[in-house]
Symmetry: C2
Subunit: 360 residues, 2 copies
């Protein structure tokens, strides 16, 4: 039976991905030098397609790391000399905050219970915080922070840098990068690729901040410091031998997304999310976990299960080949998480809903 | 025309690699959770096969990073509180030394000219150096440090940790891991895989050192600190979502290598290297770059060219599909670098030699 993955990460592969890998092997992409013009063209192609997809202004660069987890560390090392500020409402935003502590920064936080979200008007950013760390989509709890709220937050704190963890919502999240200083994601979520590459958008202002920290005798890392990444980026190179294959495939998938049109992807995401939430509202087996409707994620739908969720997941997979994500951490046995990424279309989501109805 | 890569990195793919990727796609390895038992079995398999291949004692762990470049940074952050010591004789050992300076360590070095190598008896390790940083194979210059010399160096400095950069010589380098504390490589060299994964062997003593630095209020990083990597390794997991596909393929290639037998790989490497050096000795077109025979690399053969080396490389590729590496940095136009990795067999090396003879 062919499997269809609705897991929130690593997720199901986008349908074109395997073909792009095959083409990469035919073109010897695994053997080319990362100091060759062939590689520079690959980087430039990915850059161009991501610029279109995310509507990036020219001041924003496209940098590559090993993972989004790595960006948590790098952005804190490079743009926080003393104090960071974190919105924490789930397992991943919590880890982002803990990274700052481990790097001996003074890490402020505004914390809400698991399953609750943030609006701009309730947030007071501490006076000396240099970087505001937000998460548009808590993959663990299915809570989103709407882009309007992120934009408002930046507008009321223009003297501070703001970074957005959009790991499980890019490219759905329609950020205004003339406002937002930085954002990042990893390719194994909505881009439907195998894991092993982090994508980091950063403005020149972020690079300048990192250089100031260096001048003040601060440590900003080595090969993956912002100045080092940026210096290489200017010639479409990377400091180390990167995951060339993955950068190649990312450029191709971004091109596929642009062919569909990001606005169409966003509309389809909302249409699929609505049908999942509508189903749960009427269901006797499931409840929507996130109470506040405006905080409900459009890309990771989290539902409480009346019966043991592991059993639901196992039964569904055995009968239909469809794979859901389990609840995160302590909620492993009581929740399911349904990734609503471009790898599944509207009809497949309807089929999932029918299959869930027929389970009981 | 099919290409055959003799480039030192990224190198030609090992013949089984593409098939392993295809199998990984059939098994949905790109979509499995990195917290699943399927992933843990993949990690465990890679661990088992690498343990056989490198004859690792139980005290040595097998850890994964994004690149070998990352290990330079991590090993310095995690095991050097104040002072490191570096043997520098080429572009890569030089960068390793510079990383230590960028991390504000007191970085001692013993430096030799490009093309020269080290023996243990000429090395005096500074009294307070905590970590000795060696490179078995300078990919830039084709100079090796023989394992006997590395072992001697550790035996005369038992109170210090010793790490070996074996990026372009693993698994040819036959290190005694009951002596050597740590070593690392990346998969795009002799393992003939696409880039995007670093492999780091580290002893428990290294982890203990990192914990002591933490206790002394030192910063050892976050998710990829040695204690964090080690804690996850104990259950065959990784702190972040790793390059799962690459870990899967690495386990398979290590299994292929074990089927051939590492001793056979080593003998074949020496036989191929000898034929390349013998050819260069008699040639009117080429000279061996490294003068001291015992310092000549077995895995990356560097030759001076009588005529412009870019022209040699272009002509060879156009006529035969065989691709050589150019000289490194300033020597780009005057040298060729020939990777002698398991992706090419003895007969192919003879064919290369004949093709080089017929070029002029």
């Amino acid at each position: 039976m062919n499997k269809l993955f609705f897991t929130p990460g690593p997720a199901g592969l986008f349908p074109t991905v395997q073909g792009h890998y095959e083409q990469a092997f035919r073109e010897n992409i695994g053997s080319i030098s990362h100091r060759s013009s062939t590689f520079r063209k690959i980087y430039q192609h990915a850059d161009e397609q991501l610029r279109i997809l995310f509507n990036l202004p020219k001041e924003t660069g496209v940098l590559f790391t090993g993972s989004a987890t790595e960006v948590w560390e790098r952005v804190l090392m490079n743009t926080v000399e003393h104090e960071s500020f974190h919105l924490v409402n789930g397992s991943f935003s919590k880890k982002f905050h803990e990274f700052s502590q481990q790097l001996h920064k003074f890490a402020h936080k505004f914390e809400k219970p698991f399953g609750e979200g943030f609006d701009a008007n309730e947030i007071t950013v501490p006076e000396y915080a240099e970087l505001i760390c937000t998460t548009t989509n808590e993959t663990s709890s299915g809570v989103q922070m709407r882009v309007q709220e992120i934009h408002k937050l930046k507008k009321s704190n223009k003297d501070k840098l703001l970074v957005v963890d959009m790991v499980s919502s890019a490219p759905y999240t329609n950020l205004d990068f003339t406002l937002v200083d930085s954002a990042f994601f990893s390719v194994q979520k909505a881009f439907g690729m195998p894991a092993g590459l982090g994508v980091w958008f950063a403005s020149e202002e972020m690079v300048e901040k990192s250089k100031r920290i260096q001048q003040h005798e601060g440590i900003v890392g080595t090969y993956h410091s912002l100045p080092s990444l940026w210096e290489n980026y200017k010639k479409f190179e990377t400091p180390e031998t990167p995951n060339v294959l993955s950068i190649y495939v990312l450029g191709k998938v971004a091109e596929d997304f642009n062919r569909i049109g990001v606005e169409n992807i966003r509309k389809e995401t909302e249409r699929k999310a609505k049908s999942l939430y509508d189903f749960a509202k009427k269901s006797n087996q499931f409840d929507i976990f996130v109470e506040n409707e405006s905080h409900r994620s459009q890309t990771v739908v989290v539902l409480n299960c009346k019966e043991n969720s592991s059993k639901v997941i196992q039964d569904l997979e055995a009968k239909t080949g469809m794979v859901l994500g389990s609840g995160y951490g302590k909620l492993k046995e009581t929740q399911v998480r349904i990734a609503n990424f471009p790898n599944v279309n509207f009809d497949q989501v309807q089929e999932l809903i029918e299959n869930l109805k027929n389970l009981s």
